[in-house]
C-alpha cells in the first residue's frame, strides 16, 4: 500500500505537499466527474487509483469540488489555511465531513439538521431527517444528501455536479 494511502474511518487519504484528498468509497454514486475531468489523478483502473502527482493542487481541488457526494473531499495540510482558504468550497472537508478528519464522531440524534446552501451549488442536508420525494418517504440517519438547486441535474432531486457546467449563480 502506498505510504500516503492510509486507512481512516472506512476510507482512504492521499496527500501531496499542499493538500490531503479523502476518499470514501461507500459514498460514491459514480457521477464520474473525477475521472472524466482529471484521469491523470483519478484513474479507477490504477492502484492506487488516486495519484496526487498527476496534476497541480489547484486542478485537484477543482475536480474534488465537482464530486456531488462526500466520496471525495479535501483539506489543506496546513491547518491554518483550513480556517479560511477554500473553506467556502463545497468539498472542503471542514464543511463536508469534519468527522472524517480524524476519528468518526457521529452527529447526535438530537442535533438540529444542518441545511447548507452552498455557493453556486446544491443544498447539503446533514443529520437525522425524514425525506419525502416522488412518493417515497425515507428516514436519513446521520448522512449527507445534496439537493439540486440549479434545476439542471440529470439525477433530480439530487445534485450531480451539473451546476458547474451550467454556470449556476445563486
Amino acid at each position: 500500500m502506498d505510504k500516503n494511502e492510509k486507512q481512516y474511518s472506512g476510507g482512504k487519504k492521499y496527500k501531496n505537499d499542499d493538500i490531503t484528498v479523502y476518499w470514501k468509497p461507500s459514498a460514491c454514486v459514480h457521477a464520474s466527474y473525477c475521472y472524466r475531468e482529471l484521469i491523470e489523478v483519478f484513474d479507477p483502473s490504477r492502484r492506487p487509483w488516486v495519484d496526487m502527482n498527476g496534476s497541480t493542487t489547484e486542478k485537484i481541488i477543482e475536480v474534488v469540488n465537482l464530486c456531488p457526494t462526500e466520496a471525495l473531499a479535501w483539506k489543506w495540510n496546513d491547518d491554518e489555511k483550513n480556517k479560511s482558504v477554500g473553506a467556502d468550497q463545497c468539498n472542503h472537508i471542514k464543511f463536508r465531513r469534519p468527522e472524517l478528519m480524524d476519528i468518526t464522531d457521529p452527529v447526535n440524534e438530537e442535533q438540529p439538521v444542518s441545511v447548507k446552501v452552498m455557493i453556486d451549488g446544491p443544498i447539503v442536508l446533514k443529520g437525522y431527517f425524514t425525506l419525502d420525494y416522488s412518493g417515497n418517504t425515507k428516514v436519513v440517519k446521520d448522512n449527507i444528501i445534496s439537493i439540486c438547486r440549479c434545476g439542471a441535474s440529470d439525477h433530480q432531486p439530487f445534485c450531480d455536479g451539473r451546476h458547474r457546467k451550467v454556470g449556476f449563480n445563486g
Binding site: 461507500s26 459514498a27 454514486v29 459514480h30 457526494t69 467556502d88 464543511f95 440524534e109 438530537e110 442535533q111 438540529p112 439538521v113 444542518s114 441545511v115 447548507k116 446552501v117 452552498m118 455557493i119 453556486d120 443544498i123 442536508l125 443529520g127 437525522y128 431527517f129 425524514t130 425525506l131 419525502d132 420525494y133 416522488s134 418517504t137 425515507k138 428516514v139 436519513v140 440517519k141 446521520d142 448522512n143 444528501i145 439537493i147 439540486c148 438547486r149 440549479c150 434545476g151 439542471a152 439525477h155 432531486p157 439530487f158 449556476f168 445563486g170
Partner: protein, 69 residues
C-alpha cells in the same frame, strides 16, 4: 441507482426535520434545523422554509414561485 445510501424505509423515529421535495416545486423543510447560506453568509433558525430548486428565483435561496412561470 440509489443515491441515498444509509437510508432506511422507516417512519420517523429520531427524525429532527421533515424534508419534502415538492414535484416541480421547491424543497420544503420543517422542524428542527439550522439554515446556513454560505454565499450570503447568513444563518437562521426558522420552523419552516421553502428553498428554490429551479434556479430561477430572484430571492435565492428562497422560492419565489418563479418555477410556475
Amino acid at each position: 441507482m440509489d443515491n441515498i445510501s444509509g437510508m432506511e424505509q422507516k417512519k420517523e423515529i429520531s427524525s429532527q426535520a421533515r424534508v419534502e421535495i415538492i414535484d416541480f416545486g421547491p424543497i420544503k423543510i420543517t422542524g428542527n434545523f439550522v439554515l446556513k447560506d454560505m454565499k450570503r453568509d447568513k444563518e437562521e433558525s426558522v420552523k419552516e422554509v421553502l428553498l428554490c430548486r429551479c434556479g430561477n428565483s430572484a430571492n435565492k435561496p428562497f422560492c419565489d414561485d418563479s418555477h410556475k412561470k
